[in-house]
């Protein structure tokens, strides 16, 4: 018995020690020759390797694939510029995209990159990708060495945003193990991958664009607390961190904040509840548009950002704040009195305990958050506190992702979204095939659907931004405060990093959802002073 106790004590110590352990000692950065060591969350390690067909770059979290090059890339203001492509056009009906590519690009094994490789890559993604949507693509065809045609199943005006994240793979060197030993034509070559620990990249000496300034990039995968420990020990140059650690003072490091569209918000099911195939869809309380509007008005976002994020965040009014397709009609000011009036009008009157009631039913709902995510939990708790002032009883509950999607059909869930494509609006608000309701939370509005369909059919990408804006609010209907407001958006979470003094991190684009690879999108432009 005693032995057992001692053993378990030892185990506890070992566990505690491993928390502070930093993998791969001896990766001390050498500032002189352009080497950089960056930490990322363990979830950023691509489980299926560095293959665009399995989510590298074009996955749940979008970013530039580094090892491979893409046809186009997004600029700082999230418009599109050419990379491999020299020009691209879409046919009038939007069903054919023709892209001309450079003829001077070589893979790192010396073979030239041709239109055939591009076609192969996209057809491969269409067939294999489960993490990004390629259903709109019928077929990619190489017309000649430098021209590729994309034949679409349906018009898809925002195709360039897909072209910006799909890394082109070499057809001649592609097999099922490609993701483990990727060959590309991008700025960096993957030299070494110690699974569960680190990936080492070296600059591609034959890169067709401007030569990278940073010669060697080491990415370490670890949790935030270990990253902080690593920075304290001076072992890394850039350590990702969270708002709760932001008040730590580290010698030789300063805190860098990057603005994001990594938003958090919760859904309010907009239909009355109904059971189908064992899943409940809709929620009787939030089905009333006045209730949803009142909730939106009763949220003091500024206070929430100060409370939960120590101020390291920006207010979110939509899923796409700061994007070119964002409609600023979504802005709504905190107004508790107006919110109370709306609740009164909806027939919910305050009871003795301060909680509103109607026909003996108490006003309120359960707000779910994903287990273990302390920021979402804090946002859920603060939302509950703020809505209490409106007379709503909001319970919070931690759930796992295995059940969260189904339960979110009838109960609000704290989500995180944000991507460099207007498709995000479509995924959240557009109704889907059979059910006629949006995918993640029951909602449907024909006018909103039509604007988005029209936007996808448009033959001019920049002109289509207007239609995306109208889908949000066209003056009479939409998804904003004055419209149906089926989702409440709270904040965009700043991505925070401890950066070693002397390292100049190049200006960042607004980061999308995911605190991982986006930071090294432009690693080639970083500099040591």
């Amino acid at each position: 018995m005693k032995m057992k106790k001692i053993t378990s004590l030892l185990c506890a110590f070992a566990m505690a020690a491993s928390l502070f352990a930093v993998p791969a000692a001896g990766v001390m950065a050498d500032a002189s020759n352009g080497e950089v060591v960056v930490t990322m969350p363990t979830t950023s390690e691509p489980a299926s390797g560095f293959d665009s067909a399995f989510g590298w770059g074009a996955g749940e979290h979008v970013h530039e694939p580094l090892i491979q090059s893409t046809l186009v890339r997004t600029t700082k203001d999230l418009k599109i510029e050419n990379d491999l492509a020299t020009e691209y056009t879409s046919s009038e009906d939007g069903l054919t995209w023709t892209v001309k590519i450079r003829d001077d690009v070589k893979f790192t094994d010396g073979e030239p990159l041709t239109a055939q490789d591009v076609a192969f890559t996209y057809n491969n993604c269409r067939d294999l990708s489960t993490v990004n949507d390629f259903t709109m693509l019928k077929e990619a065809v190489a017309v000649d060495e430098t021209t590729v045609e994309f034949h679409m199943n349906e018009a898809y005006s925002i195709w360039p945003y897909t072209m910006a994240i799909v890394g082109i793979v070499p057809e001649h060197a592609y097999d099922e193990n490609y993701g483990q030993n990727p060959i590309g034509s991008g700025r960096y070559i993957m030299k070494q991958w110690d699974k569960g620990q680190q990936v080492i990249f070296e600059a591609n000496p034959d890169y067709y664009g401007e030569a990278p300034k940073v010669q060697k990039l080491t990415v370490l995968f670890m949790e935030e607390d270990s990253a902080l420990a690593a920075a304290m020990a001076g072992q890394v140059d850039v350590a990702h961190t969270a708002a709760s650690y932001s008040d730590q003072e580290l010698d030789g490091y300063s805190l860098m904040r990057v603005e994001t569209v990594d938003n958090r918000g919760f859904n309010l099911p907009a239909t009355v509840s109904e059971e189908k195939d064992g899943i409940t869809y809709g929620n009787d309380f939030t089905a009333d548009v006045n209730v949803r509007r009142a909730i939106n008005l009763a949220i003091d976002r500024e206070e929430m950002i100060n409370n939960v994020l120590n101020g390291y965040g920006t207010i979110a009014y939509s899923v796409c704040d700061k994007m070119p397709w964002y409609n600023d009609e979504a802005v709504s000011e905190y107004n508790l009195d107006e919110a109370k009036k709306l609740m009164d009008e909806a027939g919910w009157v305050e009871g003795k305990d301060g909680i509103r009631e109607k026909d003996g039913v108490k006003a309120g709902f359960t707000l779910m958050f994903s287990n273990g995510d302390s920021v979402r939990q804090a946002l859920a708790e603060d939302t509950a506190n703020q809505l209490k002032e409106l007379g709503l009883e909001v319970k919070t509950e931690g759930v796992g992702w295995d059940t969260a999607y189904d339960r979110a059909q009838s109960e609000p869930l704290m989500w995180g979204w944000g991507a460099h494509t207007p498709m995000e609006l479509y995924n959240i608000y557009h109704s889907m095939g059979e059910s006629g309701l949006a995918q993640y939370s029951p909602y449907a509005n024909e006018t909103v659907d039509n604007y988005m369909d029209e936007a996808l059919k448009s033959d001019d990408l920049e002109a289509s931004y207007d239609l995306w804006k109208k889908a949000q609010w066209d003056g009479t209907t939409g998804i904003t405060q004055e419209g149906d407001i089926p989702w409440i958006w709270l904040c965009n979470i700043d991505h925070l990093y401890f950066v070693r003094d002397g390292l100049k991190v190049a200006d960042q684009k607004i980061h999308p959802h995911g605190h991982g690879w986006s930071i090294v999108n432009n690693i080639d432009e970083w500099e040591w002073e």
Binding site: D225, L228, S244, N307, N371, Q377, N385, V399
Partner: protein
Amino acid sequence: MKTKMNQRKKAKILLAVAVFFLAAVAVAGIICHDAAMVTDFSRKNLPPSLAYPFGTDWLGRNMFYRTLTGLSMSILIGVCAAGVSVVMALILGLAAATLGKKADSVITFLIDLVMGIPHILLLLLISFALGKGLRGVIVGVALTHWTSLARLIRGEVLQLKQSEYIQIARKLGHSNLEIARKHMLVHLLPQFLVGLVLMFPHAILHESSITFLGFGLSTEQPAIGVILSESMKYLIMGKWWLALFPGIMLVLTVVLFDLGGTSLRKILDPNSVHK
């Protein structure tokens, strides 16, 4: 003249202290439940003070209330799960010893089967299969902890069967069931009670460990496992109070249960009762 306290008295006092403390924690926890859930961002990350003896966490929750509630939940889950477990052990142990050879080999096989799999692993499996949460934990703990006690009871009953008074009862024509109820159960009661009490600390520790690992109660609950696993993230920032006090309280609870159980055994066991 000062009399030296004998062991019996000491044991009684220890038992009383343990029972009182545990009952107080259990009750206090239930009373504080609502207060433990309150979040207030104006008082987050406060070190221990008079107003907040155990400090507050990153949501501004009062860790003192949270710890009490967590312990009380652990105690209640522990009592509940251990209770179910002990009843299972008693029934199966009795059945094995009295219902003949076949039943005996089936039950012995079951015991070996459950004992063969590491506790924590089986617990995780059962809890996960039942969708985690309160039900998963209770069923998980109950289904994994009955084995050793069942084996003990079976052995005891087998021995009892050979004793003279049972033999005589059988000769007098009493049925198996009646013998089991009238003669054996009474004899087994002390061991049963002690087994029950000594199972509590196990049950509590296992409840908190699977919750700590994320397979038990969900994270908005003020469970001791949740508190401890959350505190790990903030240790590096020097927020020692988040782990220290709840940890000490958990150890204290377990130790008190252990002491209480041992004292109870001393009082009930004819060998030691008069020392």
